[in-house]
């Protein structure tokens, strides 16, 4: 469960940035007092155009950034007050995630398992399960630098899931991937739902949203401009497609 209440994120602007943005404001508001809730066993999609505040929101949920105000509860643990406890329950994967090129798949998985404090027995079981599921046995001892994009993505997935997180955050997970590699991610997201995990993912690919999403929020210029279940969104549509409806909502709030 993720509970987000009135979170706000301000970034200080340097003089150079003020000049570039043609503003005298000393701070830029990336996320403006937003609230939403993601429930276990459901997939929550955060939609928005580039620069809307999706990545900043997800980074706050993952504990990488601190909100300026507001609160975030991960499975009822306040991530600001108890970040390391909350992070134990989180798996975080982005489309641009890098991996240590000079390490092997095995070394990376084992490293992250240790960072999350996974016991040896759990590690062995989960590793075997994930390697089997993703077909990773053949390249487990190869260095990441020698793997294809698809293989790397599989290692990233195994790295994200090795501690069996209850909450999984995906930030544009399929961006830059070919359809076959993206399919691994789509399957992972729906598997997470089946396992009763809380899933939030950001995207601007409406076909993915249509396929996976149970609840959605549309974020624009740091504000949530629409929030509903996917069913409600479909029923309330006044345009011919999901994408057209998304563009209409954005334009209405410009």
């Amino acid at each position: 469960m993720i509970q987000v209440q009135y979170i706000r994120k301000e970034f200080e602007l340097t003089k150079k940035q003020q000049k570039e943005n043609n503003t005298s404001e000393k701070v830029a508001v990336a996320v403006n007092d937003i609230s939403f809730e993601c429930k276990p066993g459901r997939i929550f999609s955060l939609l928005g155009p580039n620069g809307a505040g999706k990545t900043t929101t997800l980074r706050m949920l993952a504990g990488i950034l601190q909100p300026t105000s507001g609160s975030i509860q991960i499975n009822e643990i306040d991530i600001q007050k108890n970040p390391n406890e909350a992070k134990k329950d989180i798996g975080f994967l982005t489309g641009s995630t890098g991996l240590y090129e000079r390490l092997t798949a095995n070394e990376i998985i084992s490293y992250f398992a240790k960072l999350y404090g996974v016991s040896d027995q759990d590690f062995k079981q989960r590793k075997e399960h994930l390697y089997e599921l993703l077909g990773m046995h053949d390249f487990q001892d190869k260095r990441i630098g020698r793997l294809s994009t698809g293989m790397k993505q599989k290692v990233s997935i195994a790295r994200t899931m090795i501690h069996d997180p209850k909450v999984v955050i995906f930030d544009e997970p399929t961006s830059g991937l070919d359809v076959i590699t993206a399919e691994n991610i789509i399957k992972l997201i729906s598997d997470c739902k089946e396992q009763g995990k809380t899933v939030i993912f950001s995207s601007h690919i409406m076909s993915e949203v249509d396929l996976l999403c149970d609840d959605l929020a549309i974020i624009h210029k740091g504000n949530i401009v629409h929030s509903s279940t996917m069913e409600e969104y479909r029923n309330a549509m006044t345009t011919s497609s999901l994408t057209a409806e998304f563009i209409k909502i954005i334009n209405e709030n410009n």
Partner: protein, 397 residues
């Protein structure tokens, strides 16, 4: 947890070719190569100079003067020469400048008479100033001739040579050879450690911070339930260890060059090296290197966290490089010693303490102060790094 991070970062670092080159290959090879090259090059030129037959023109109306006789008598072991007799100086300058003749000596016609009358004779030597060795050679010849002429005069005048040498000074050096080496060359050793310690720290620091940002792995690492200070300490230990390793490999390279391959031909050098490189000296040096390399890591990390690319990190660290080398150079200067002022100046104090350790004249109170000062600066640099590592604008792009 710190050990897990340390182990992973060390594995990652040891698989980076750039780091291996800066940490092991360059430090270990630089001294044998520099020593070997400089020794063989200078030996080659020395030998060439000694073997080169100098064509010396002697210009005098009296071809059988004493100067000529004595010059002819100088053995070839002091440099082979071919004497050519001329009556005048016509064309000499051209021949010398074209190198068909190396030297020309104009001897007065009444040279023998002047000597007989105990007068001073003036000889004129034409030489080409750019050929430094030729002038040295002729000065050597003239000095030998002058001495023999002087001895003849004393004998003729029945005088004792002591007449022109009223004081016979006897210097008794009570400092050991080790002390002399320590004071004169000892500054070089810590300078070496600072250079290699710094370079050894630099590549891992860039790789472990800027590299993580550039490769987009830092964000993932920060989502793990590991406190940031533990991540920082784990990485810092690897950086510091790389600096120590580079300094130690430089020492090994220097030792191998001097001791095992005998690249420098100085009598007694092996005994001096053995006297300096005692186990207690090496242990003492390693202990000094720990806060020094932590300090290096501490001042590099903020720069490498700030930089967005490997190139940017390198250009930010280059000026830092110069700032670090300056105190190292100060420490190398003669007559600057470890005292209650210099012991409080970081880096300078380590350089001077090492110098004293090489000489075997270390004052343990001053060593303690130097160490404490360096530890405090290392701690401050860690704190500074921690603050910078905590800044969101530095860690996410």
């Amino acid at each position: 947890m710190i050990f897990t991070i340390f182990k992973k970062e060390l594995t990652d670092t040891l698989r980076d070719r750039r780091t291996i080159i800066a940490m092991i290959v360059v430090p270990i090879l630089v001294f044998p190569i520099i020593l070997g090259l400089s020794t063989s090059v200078s030996k080659y030129f020395d030998d060439k100079q000694k073997e080169e037959v100098l064509k010396v023109a002697l210009i005098s109306e009296d071809t059988d003067n004493q100067f000529t006789q004595r010059l002819s008598a100088i053995p070839d072991s002091l440099g082979p020469k071919e004497l050519i007799f001329r009556q005048d100086t016509i064309g000499l300058k051209k021949e010398i400048s074209e190198d068909s003749l190396q030297l020309a000596i104009v001897i007065p016609a009444d040279f023998d008479q002047q000597q007989k009358e105990n007068q001073q004779s003036t000889i004129q030597v034409f030489h080409k100033g750019v050929n430094l060795g030729n002038k040295d050679r002729v000065e050597g010849y003239v000095s030998i001739i002058e001495n023999t002429l002087l001895e003849d005069r004393f004998e003729r005048l029945s005088l004792d040579k002591q007449l022109i040498d009223p004081i016979n000074e006897q210097y008794v050096d009570i400092s050991s050879k080790k002390e002399v080496i320590g004071k004169v060359a000892g500054g070089f050793l810590p300078y070496l450690f600072i250079i290699f310690g710094f370079i050894g720290c630099m590549y891992p620091a860039i790789d472990l911070f800027t590299g993580e940002k550039e490769r987009k792995t830092l964000e993932t690492l920060l989502t793990t339930p590991v406190p940031r200070w533990k991540i920082l300490v784990g990485k810092m230990l690897v950086i510091s260890l790389s600096g120590i390793a580079a300094a130690v490999f430089a020492l090994v390279g220097m030792f191998a060059g001097l001791r095992l391959f005998n690249l420098v031909d100085i009598p007694g050098i092996n005994e001096i090296i053995d006297g300096i490189l005692t186990p207690s000296f090496i242990v003492g040096l390693l202990i000094l290197l720990i806060p020094l390399t932590i300090f290096f890591a501490g001042i590099m990390i903020p720069a490498t966290i700030y930089a967005k690319s490997f190139k940017e990190a390198q250009s930010v660290l280059t000026p830092v490089n110069f700032i670090i080398f300056l105190p190292a150079i100060i420490g190398m200067l003669p007559n600057i010693e470890l005292d209650y002022t210099t012991a409080f100046i970081p880096i300078v104090n380590i350089v001077l303490a090492t110098k004293e350790m090489v000489a075997g004249t270390i004052d343990f109170v001053l060593l303690g102060i130097s160490y404490l000062v360096m530890v405090i600066f290392a701690a401050l640099s860690i704190l500074f790094s921690y603050k910078r590592f905590g800044r969101e604008s530095n860690i996410v792009s």
